[in-house]
């Protein structure tokens, strides 16, 4: 009997039994499902030194991977491009990825490759920081409330600074972490909501600076503070701990968190190649199971978050000081030095169905790729749907989640009853609503950005 047929048989039986058992949590998994060995037991996953790699670290440190019979090695990567390339050429089995990376790879923006995801790692977790000098120029234009700056801070105040710089002939530059990164789209969204053009990508301009009021460029997250300090950029959008680091080092001020730009926006995913997912279905489900448990553990209590901060501060993971990581991970966020405000949703790892790969999340990223010209021509709504279905794999997620429900590790109520869409979403900083089923209508609502058949 050949290996693939055996595993597919196991998987079929495993799935039916898991479904039969969903809800019946009185006894453990059926004997056969427990014996279905992962096709690949030695795995190497990549991550970038950011606090939102936490699900991977927790799954490793708490032994959740071991529980699934996997021997995982976690390896920090130099930057997002290296990470993606290494997943594509098989040096890594999977990785902590930006939500845009699997989508960008699939539509062929940058390196073309077939990458899929069955697990969304977290919601929110980023912020936009500007240098002290820019903050000093911005602050007079900001509305105050109770002696403190009123939040959320809109980009209108920054526009006045950028316009003043333009008169002096100075270019305003900001850093983000990758062309298809959530940070790039969030930063652009925020700037455009404040009336500035963050620049378009064209077939000849792959740096995305055509017609730009603010020049955006790529800098690896850990180098953001240093790059800003040296004056190469005047602000940046990045994940933690690099915004809080700027406060601690006294070199910059975080002005807005991405949760304020778009409430509960999806941030990172766990990506693998399509070929890997086909070849290792049992392994894939096992990995997702371990990661769901890690997400659940992270959101279960504040004590767990404190423990997670300790793990992340180890030098082989994020390695920054505990105090810096703890700031955002334990529900507060410091803007100006001393202006610490509660931010309970700065990092969401499990609540609000954070781990489920929603099609509507994928489509939002695709709309932003179209809005800024990374997708060069108009596409029908059905195309957006097809790409989302190709990349996001909720069925694998549900298989893993149902198995966990059957084992009594999570509650059935932790799983969404959904067709993959969150319905009409509100909570954007510019008040524009988003319906994932109508991407082209959504694009038409923006003043700045490409819509319909626009060309730059």
């Amino acid at each position: 009997m050949s290996a693939p047929s055996r595993s597919s048989l196991n998987r079929r039986r495993f799935a039916t039994q898991a479904i039969a058992l969903a809800g019946a949590t009185t006894f453990g998994l059926p004997a056969l499902a427990a014996k279905a060995r992962p096709e690949k037991e030695q795995l190497k996953f990549g991550f970038i030194k950011l606090t939102d790699c936490a699900p991977l670290v927790v799954a490793y440190e708490k032994g959740y991977f071991e529980d699934e019979g996997l021997n995982v090695q976690l390896e920090a990567q130099a930057n997002w491009k290296v990470l993606l390339d290494r997943v594509i050429d098989g040096q890594l089995d999977g990785a902590h990825m930006l939500a845009g990376q699997p989508l960008g790879a699939t539509i062929g923006f940058g390196t073309k490759a077939d990458i899929v995801t069955a697990f969304s790692m977290d919601l929110n977790g980023n912020a936009i920081t500007v240098s002290n000098a820019v903050w000093a120029e911005m602050k007079p234009h900001l509305p105050m409330k109770d002696g403190k700056v009123a939040h959320p801070i809109k980009a209108d105040a920054l526009k006045k600074v950028v316009d003043a710089w333009k008169k002096e002939g100075k270019a305003f530059k900001m850093g983000m972490v990758f062309p298809v990164s959530t940070h790039n789209y969030e930063l652009r969204y925020w700037l455009a909501a404040g009336g500035m053009n963050p620049g378009y990508y064209t077939s000849s301009d792959i740096s995305g600076t055509s017609k730009a009021d603010v020049l955006l460029s790529v800098t690896p997250p850990p180098q953001m503070p240093n790059t800003m300090e040296s004056g190469t950029i005047h602000g940046y959008c990045v994940g933690e701990p690099w915004n809080q680091q700027a406060v601690f080092k006294g070199i910059g001020v975080p002005v807005v968190t991405d949760n304020e730009i778009w409430k509960n926006n999806p941030e990172k995913v766990f990506g693998v190649t399509g070929a890997w997912a086909k070849a290792n279905p049992i392994t894939h489900v096992a990995v997702v199971k371990a990661l769901i448990r890690a997400g659940q553990w992270l959101d279960a209590s504040m004590a767990n978050r404190v423990e997670a901060v300790k793990m992340l501060s180890k030098s082989q993971y994020v390695g920054a000081d505990e105090a810096v990581i703890a700031n955002s991970m334990t529900g507060t966020f410091e803007y100006e030095k001393g202006d610490k405000r509660p931010a309970p949703d700065f990092n969401v790892f499990f609540r609000n169905f954070a781990t489920f790969p929603f099609y509507s999340d994928a489509i939002w990223y695709l709309t932003q790729m179209r809005r800024w010209g990374q997708i060069t021509e108009a596409k029908p709504d059905s195309w957006y749907m097809d790409i989302a279905k190709k990349v996001y794999q909720p069925t694998i997620y549900m298989e893993a989640a149902n198995a966990l429900v059957a084992e009594g590790k999570i509650k059935a109520s932790d799983l969404p009853k959904t067709d993959g869409f969150k319905g009409v979403q509100t909570g954007f900083i510019d008040g524009v609503d988003y319906d994932g089923r109508k991407p082209n209508d959504y694009l038409a609502k923006f003043k700045i950005g490409l819509k319909a058949a626009d060309k730059v």
Binding site: E66, Q73, A76, Q245, K249, S315, A320
Partner: protein, 324 residues
Amino acid sequence: MELVNKLFGSGAAALRDPRELGRAFVMSVGVPVIAFAIFLALWSVAASRIQTSLGAVPGPAQVAEQAVVLVKEHFSEREREAAFYKRQAERDKERIAEDPSYEPRNFQWTGKRTYLDQIVTSLYTVFVGFLLATVVAVPLGILAGTSKIVQAAINPMVQLFRPVSPLAWLPIVTLIVSAVYVTTDEPMFQKSFLISAITVTLCSLWTTLINTAIGVTSVDKDLVNVGKVLQLPLATRVRKIILPSALPFIFTGMRLSLGVGWMVLIAAEMLAQNPGLGKFVWDEFQNGSSDSLSRIMVAVFTIGLIGYALDRLMQVLQNLVVPR
């Protein structure tokens, strides 16, 4: 005594006079110790005044403290490793009790490489790279020294490639190794290790090559002529005449090569993110914690000490091998 002379050169023998001995001791031990103490004092004074974005520059005390922490981390990581193997054995036992047909897994521990592990990795890599370089450079150097044609043939290439920085070789080596070295799941060598080692080879073989060639050309002409008169075969000529005279040159070349190789390796590891001390430095720089600078300085001292130790090692070897 014989051996001591051999190892440390002659010079110790002349010291019979106690006053001379005392003076020699002051010169060889006292002065360096005092100078180093002054250096440490200056460092601690200067360090506290320079504020970087990672806090003040660490002084000697903080660096020493981090050195201890790094060693402690090594042992705590080893404990975690032991715990992992224990857990695995228990798991396997349970599973076999449930299901006798179950084949136990023997996973390798995948925890962090500790500082000491990184040192060992770097040393291993530099020696492999250096040996490769020696194996290539010495025969080639002998050929170039004995034959004018070969010398003329390889001279332009040596001149061209010798000044190339390791960082320029690295991408080329990386691409070629990735393309040529196709591995199964459990390769004999890690790609990253090969890339680092070959980069070291490419950068460190030139000095050995040039020195060997010079050594061979400077062999006493009378001896060479004797060899010709006796019509010795080439192998014998190399073994009996050329090598003994050229050996000091070859060793000098190798010593320089090893020094270059060690320097290159750290840079290569840093850039390619290959395991070793270079990666340790880069990771700490990326971490940006308040201890990072001290840890990087620990690494700097370690790298310096190891470089010095390697140099001494070559010197000792040279004294053993080269007849005085």
